[in-house]
Point group: C2
Chain length 231, copies 2
């Protein structure tokens, strides 16, 4: 397992991550864990101190996050954690719907039983995490579910984009999965995706994947409008 992308060799994934990559992960993690809230200023030298790295690194990390859309840069004022408004969130969910629907369709058309098995496995993980109330686990295994969808049909570019977008709505995701009934509705929708793929119904798989994202988006919309009554 964990075949990765294309290396047939048995190389160690990350022999030595650079300090920059470590710092990047830390800051990203800090943002979507809520340690840095949207709108917070990210003062370079403060980050240097907190991360224990030089300004060079911090600047590169901030640029990277900026190009990912997690950080916004106010001219002559510096970087802040990007705010996510309802409209942007809506667009992100919409794009995910289009891409995940596409992947689901391709999976259905490929008629490969290992796809169904892998998806069932991921779905089991999700249900298991829900039962244990392991919410980070739910997020991770949900991502794993979709990763199967994309990687089984070798769509790593699309998967990269979905991942990029997902980071930006991560805090919304953690709220949507805690919603009443999402623990049964979510897996049920994913089961429908699997069903459509199993019977080779591309159109049905597309719609099922789309439905899943759409309902998540609806919950997210409710959440976002509840938490910011007045922008």
């Amino acid at each position: 397992m964990a075949i990765g992308l294309k290396d047939s060799t048995i190389k160690v994934e990350r022999p030595a991550k650079t300090l920059r990559e470590l710092a990047l992960d830390k800051v990203r993690e800090a943002i979507d864990s809520g340690h840095f809230m949207p709108g917070d200023r990210l003062v370079e030298r403060d980050l240097c101190a907190q991360l224990g790295v030089s300004r060079t690194i911090v600047r590169e990390v901030l640029r990277h996050l900026e190009s990912e859309g997690l950080v916004a840069n106010l001219p002559n004022k510096g970087p802040i954690v990007a705010r996510l408004d309802a409209d942007e969130a809506r667009q992100i969910y919409e794009i995910r719907g289009a891409l995940e629907g596409m992947a689901a369709r391709l999976c259905a058309e490929r008629r490969d039983s290992t796809i169904v098995e892998a998806l069932e496995g991921a779905l089991d993980d999700i249900r298991h995490c829900y039962r244990k109330k392991d919410m980070p686990g739910v997020l991770a295994s949900t991502s794993a579910f979709y990763q199967v969808l994309f990687s089984k049909v070798d769509r790593h570019v699309a998967w990269g984009i979905v991942n990029l977008l997902t980071v930006r709505i991560n805090h919304l995701r953690s709220m949507t999965i805690k919603t009443d009934n999402r623990n049964v509705e979510g897996p049920a929708q994913m089961e429908r995706i699997i069903e459509a793929i199993r019977r080779g119904d591309g159109e049905g798989a597309y719609r099922a994947a789309m439905d899943h994202v759409t309902s998540a988006a609806a919950i997210a919309e409710a959440v976002i409008s509840a938490q910011s009554p007045a922008v």
Copy 2:
């Protein structure tokens, strides 16, 4: 004032671009103009000299391009201009199809006559550039056409992604538009998109946009397999 991220106000776009942004544009331009070829090493200190900026800037630029996928970083060897293989190009065209199809559908469903007018205008530009054999102009006005598609339904996130992907296949694009008959086939396909939008046919607009990308992808595939007989 300055509500935050999206300014619908009439602010001057770039009163003062930072040096870093200038350098970023320069390098990006150098890559897709072919000044730097895929596989070329991008030695930091050389770039400093060529651009006349400090290493800090160069590094930030390289990181940015890396996250855009235009530059790849070989561990312990440094950055090179990313190679684009046929499979990746195929995936990029596929994603563009999904997103542009989505935008076209939304345009059709909105039933706004100004959309049709704007698209006709852009298409006229394209035809005009073809007549003048102004190939960079064709590329630019084709982009403008699609930008209308996305911006008229306020999908700037999707537009951003399409743009990101487009940069990576830019040299392919410049070859596809030079293909025999593309100067009549391309505009004809775009006309069909407009027609579907005009009659409010969402599904038709989706398919027409998809067709246009698909045929471009087919040409690109031919080009890429012709220019690299053996990888």
